[in-house]
Symmetry: C2
């Protein structure tokens, strides 16, 4: 990961990996992480007890499913998912995302399964 | 400002105002604010004692001046300015920015002048 006071090109970071559901850390500030991730398919229903999450779409279309509605998020748009709220990200085709959330955030929240990533690479 | 669990279109928020150096709050999470702002001209040299700041360029070109170098940031790129580091944003032409920083952050940091904005509108 570049040192502070160097700029980060988001598309360049996203070009460095191709796997899905495996966030990379591309920035750190104020105890928060900026992560780049590619999603495709359906994630798992989960929530985070203590963390709000911001999903900013860079490329593609993200569907964020909640228990009572689904929100479609396109490039240049973001959604904030508050702590404790059950949600499931779904991407019919690959979507490229920037995440902004506390450094403590586990991708699958209260659930642990084969998609859980406890140790994230820094790019 | 929209309630949580509704998406935010960044360009739409930026279309709602035209003044410079006056950040609007367009998202809140984990004690942090997401702000939209338009910059043109030269800001003031300043630092923040307790807050790191992220500048993500949406449109235009931002020059971030530090005491020992200048970094040019283009659309799709961001820079993180760590706390205590003196910096001065400069925009030769209008640049549209997303800020991510603690809710406590004052735009002019340790300096107060005519560009200081203590009370920010929520859009």
């Amino acid at each position: 990961m570049k040192s502070a006071m160097e700029k980060v090109n988001i598309a360049e970071k996203l070009s460095l990996f191709s796997d899905h559901w495996n966030p990379r850390i591309i920035g750190e500030l104020n105890g928060q992480h900026v992560k780049a991730v590619k999603l495709q398919g359906e994630f798992v229903w989960h929530h985070h007890d203590h963390e709000d999450e911001l999903f900013l779409v860079i490329k593609g279309k993200l569907k964020m499913e909640f228990k009572d509605k689904t929100v479609e998020i396109n490039p240049g748009e973001f959604i904030i998912v508050p702590r404790k709220i059950e949600h499931k990200p779904v991407a019919d085709e690959e979507v490229q995302i920037l995440l902004f959330e506390p450094a403590s955030t586990l991708n699958t929240g209260n659930v642990e399964n084969e998609k859980t990533r406890k140790h994230l690479e820094k790019l």
